[in-house]
């Protein structure tokens, strides 16, 4: 036979047989290559395959599929791994329903780094955005690789902050690796491809379908040493990631939030169920110290900057958390025009950041 196990796996993946079913097929055939000599009757006896799968397996021409795949892969600079390869990430070996094929772009060595997944809602609140940025920066200072899903919201912020601060990041997609979703993240996608790693288990050209996203979450948690949920609604996909993490025996961290906030309902209930509450980055580091050897990267340490009088007053007010300019003016008893101009100067100096419309926080 010309085709090895690898090729057969890629073929099965490309015609839409998911990892679960491939595992079952392997169990049945022992050598997966035998599926090439199958017939309809035999396949129909396999309960786990549906009619569509059978039709696909029988009608598809492995040679044509592989040639087509080869063309796309070479032209778009995509690589792939199968679970039979030596390079297959060790971290994924022991998760249930491990992906049989992984398509990737970028630097595969990042998989060996200690890592943490930062996940959360697609529409974070100001608080969530602020916290996501703050913790991401602090975590990459300890050389942790940040893993997320390149979706809107927290995912995007986590990736972006990491790239901006020269950290390592891995994006696990819920669609084919050659599809960019959401489109607005095209630039970010290219940056990650260049400086980080993009992974997807889905066949090329797979559209971003709703039911694919929960499935990829098991890879996010699988690749990470721990999962940190920033903000999540009650039915958020981030909670699925957290559940996978628990199944895989990983630590789950959650950011506490206002009990009235819809976007903290999920995270607060995670904490209630035993996830670790995170108040500062040490809360995460203490737990990880036992399993990892973290070293603080001194390069990321900020230089001390001289501040003027009003600048100090405003920084003091902002120490309690993000605030609207009107409230900064009220709490500092400074006029609004002074507050506005000082904030610009502080922003240029890189001390504060406008995290949402007219709301500022120390970064």
């Amino acid at each position: 036979m010309r085709y090895g196990n690898r090729e057969v796996l890629v073929w099965l993946n490309s015609i839409g047989i998911n990892s679960d079913k491939i595992e079952n097929l392997e169990e049945y055939y022992v050598d997966i290559k035998n599926i090439l000599h199958t017939d309809r009757k035999e396949l129909e006896n396999l309960r786990f395959l549906n009619d569509k799968n059978i039709e696909k397996i029988l009608s598809s021409n492995i040679e044509a599929v592989l040639n087509h795949l080869q063309n796309i892969i070479t032209s778009q600079n995509i690589n792939f791994l199968t679970k039979y390869d030596k390079e297959y990430p060790f971290k994924l070996e022991f998760i249930s329903n491990k992906p049989s094929v992984l398509y990737y772009k970028g630097n595969l060595n990042l998989l060996d780094l200690d890592s943490i997944a930062i996940v959360g809602t697609r529409k974070p609140t100001i608080y969530g955005k602020w916290a996501c940025e703050k913790f991401t920066k602090e975590l990459i200072a300890y050389n942790l690789c940040i893993i997320s899903g390149l979706a809107y919201g927290i995912d995007t912020i986590a990736h972006k902050t990491t790239i901006e601060n020269n950290g390592c990041t891995i994006a696990v997609l819920g669609c084919g690796i050659n599809k960019i979703y959401p489109k607005s993240n095209k630039k970010l996608y290219e940056l990650i491809e260049d400086k980080g790693l993009i992974i997807s288990e889905f066949p090329l050209d797979t559209e971003p379908l709703k039911f694919n996203f929960p499935q990829r979450n098991r890879i996010i948690s699988g690749l990470s040493n721990a999962v940190f949920v920033i903000e999540a609604q009650r039915n958020s996909g981030s909670l699925i990631t957290a559940n996978h993490a628990l199944d895989q025996g990983k630590d789950v961290f959650a950011l506490p939030g206002n009990i009235n906030s819809l976007f903290s309902e999920g995270t607060n209930s995670l904490i209630k169920d035993g996830a670790k509450l995170v108040q500062n980055v040490e809360d995460i580091l203490i737990e990880l110290e036992n399993i990892l050897h973290l070293e603080y990267n001194t390069k990321a340490n900020k230089n001390h900057i001289e501040l003027g009088e009003t600048e100090q007053i405003i920084c003091k007010v902002l120490e309690d958390g993000p605030l609207h300019v009107d409230l900064i003016s009220l709490k500092s008893s400074l006029d609004i025009n002074i507050v506005n101009s000082t904030l610009t100067i502080l922003e240029i100096k890189g001390i504060v950041k406008e995290i949402a419309s007219n709301i500022f926080a120390i970064c």
């Binding site: 809107y152 300019v325 003016s329 009220l330 609004i336 101009s341 000082t342 610009t344 240029i348 007219n358």
Partner: protein
């Protein structure tokens, strides 16, 4: 059996002399008007005939030919009735026309009364420029016309009165208005009604002082519309020249209430279903649109993205040039449109994006679609962008005294005086309208401000257009504090009002 007298016809804001020639000749009784009259003038035949008869005169049973010269100019409007009637009576030698410098304006009703006309003020103004100094005008238009104080305004109630006046049997005193009164119309609205929102109030103060265009973004209930409605209360009164210009436009549009001079700065807030024609102006003979009606005042678009996209795009030229040129088959006219553009909008279709107390239910796609209705060229023409959030009342000290409209207006007026003094040599008065070539000269930065600008450029990646906008706003802020030179503190505040487009529009 021939007579000749003068009246006026408008093209846009400019009036043209029209000579009404009347000839009575023997023949079958006919009544012809030639010289490109529109329907309103053609129909004047019937009004003139009845008005003459009902005023106690005899309508001549001759072949009547009226010529409106120059014959190649299209004429419209009902103000010709009076001149045609007088022309016929003069040709019939019922009245004597002694004074060649008399201009007749007025519409007749069937009983001989003189009805008010549209556009009386601009007609008087442009005829005065041609050297005429005596006008017979409808009684109802006397207040508006008497603003021009170096001409004789003779208000007439009916046709009979005009004839008696011409024959010397009646004297009508020329009407002089009382002293031009800058008394402000006291509005019930006041900035003290708005609690908190100091940032927004400050931005409005700056916008009012420099006549800067402004965009307010915020969730529902954050006081956007409320504060925009209070904008006229902090704007200085119109000067007499501005007042006349505005009155002229309203006179043409036929929107002059009780035919008086307009002293209040216009505040136009068209509904978002408005068509581009109603905004720019148009019609067979183009009438001024909202942009011209807001001349020297404020044009306010509430819920900016709800406007049709083409309506928003037609705003570009008037915003940039300060006038609007409308071409139609029958006429192509220029109307002034130097207004302050204020717009408000929600940050997303449901309005709650960024609101800490409510949940936004919009998808990312719909938000982008909503924001994309506003094009970059339009955004570029808006100097000041502010972002408001509903401030929770509990968060604010209840005893805080809110700044009143009067206090703000005093500062605004002061800074406008400074601008007027500085720009006295040119036609451009306010900072918002400064030309690019003057910006460097007028908006001088202090040494440290220049350094700051360089840093800000690096940080925020401003475009060249933004650079000019920031300088203009910084100039206004410096004017508010009566500072000759633009310092760090002015510049850094100005930068705040520019950072919004980066946030919503990428």
């Amino acid at each position: 059996m021939y007579s000749k007298l003068k009246t006026c016809v408008l093209q846009g804001l400019n009036g043209h002399i029209v000579e009404v020639e009347t000839d009575l000749s023997k023949g079958l009784p006919v009544f012809n008007i030639v010289g490109l009259p529109d329907t309103a003038i053609k129909e004047s035949k019937e009004r003139v005939r009845s008005a003459i008869k009902n005023s106690g005169f005899e309508f001549p049973l001759n072949r009547i030919t009226i010529n409106l010269a120059p014959a190649n100019l299209k004429k419209d409007g009902s103000q010709m009735d009076l001149s045609i009637a007088i022309g016929i009576l003069a040709a019939a030698e019922v009245v004597q026309l002694m004074d060649n410098n008399l201009v007749f304006l007025g519409e007749l009703s069937l009983d001989g009364m003189i009805n008010p006309i549209i556009g009386a003020l601009p007609m008087v103004i442009s005829m005065r420029e041609y050297g005429f100094d005596k006008f017979i005008i409808p009684y109802a238009n006397k207040d508006e016309c008497s603003i021009i104080d170096d001409v004789d305004i003779i208000p007439a109630v009916n046709l009979r009165q005009v004839c008696d006046f011409l024959n010397g049997n009646l004297t009508i005193e020329s009407y002089k208005c009382k002293e031009y009164n800058v008394e402000r119309f006291e509005s019930e609205l006041d900035f003290t009604d708005i609690k908190g929102q100091n940032g927004l109030k400050r931005a409005m103060q700056i916008a009012a002082a420099g006549s800067h265009n402004m965009l307010i973004v915020g969730p529902p209930g954050s006081g956007k519309t409320m504060s925009a409605r209070r904008l006229p209360t902090i704007l200085p009164s119109l000067s007499i020249e501005e007042s006349i210009e505005v009155t002229k436009i309203y006179s043409i549009a036929g929107l002059l209430n009780d035919n008086r001079l307009i002293v209040q700065r216009p505040f136009r807030a068209p509904h978002h279903s408005a068509s581009s024609v109603s905004i720019i102006g148009g019609g067979k003979i183009p009438k001024p649109g909202e942009v011209s009606l807001a001349h020297h005042g404020v044009l306010f678009f509430d819920e900016l993205p709800e406007f049709q996209k083409n309506v928003l795009e037609v705003l570009r030229q008037p915003l940039e040039d300060g006038f609007v040129h409308i071409s139609r088959a029958n006429a192509s006219l220029t109307y002034p449109s130097n207004f302050m553009f204020v717009a408000s909008m929600n940050p997303c279709p449901c309005g709650n994006l960024g609101d800490p107390y409510h949940q936004c239910t919009c998808s990312q796609n719909s938000i982008e679609k909503y924001l994309n209705k506003i094009s970059h060229p339009l955004l570029d023409r808006i100097d000041i962008h502010v972002d408001v959030l509903p401030v929770k009342y509990d968060d604010l000290n209840k005893d805080v005294k809110e700044i009143s409209s009067l206090e703000i207006r005093e500062i605004v007026e002061q800074s406008r005086q400074i601008q007027k003094r500085r720009n006295s040599s040119s036609s451009i008065v306010y900072n918002a309208n400064l030309l690019n070539k003057d910006i460097r000269k007028i908006c001088k930065l202090s040494k440290s401000a220049e350094l700051l600008m360089a840093k800000a450029f690096e940080k925020y990646k401003f475009s060249a257009r933004s650079y000019n906008k920031i300088l203009k706003v910084a100039r206004t802020i410096a004017d508010l504090e009566q500072s000759e030179i633009i310092d760090d503190i002015h510049l850094s505040e100005a930068i705040r009002y520019r950072s919004l487009d980066k946030k919503y529009w990428r």
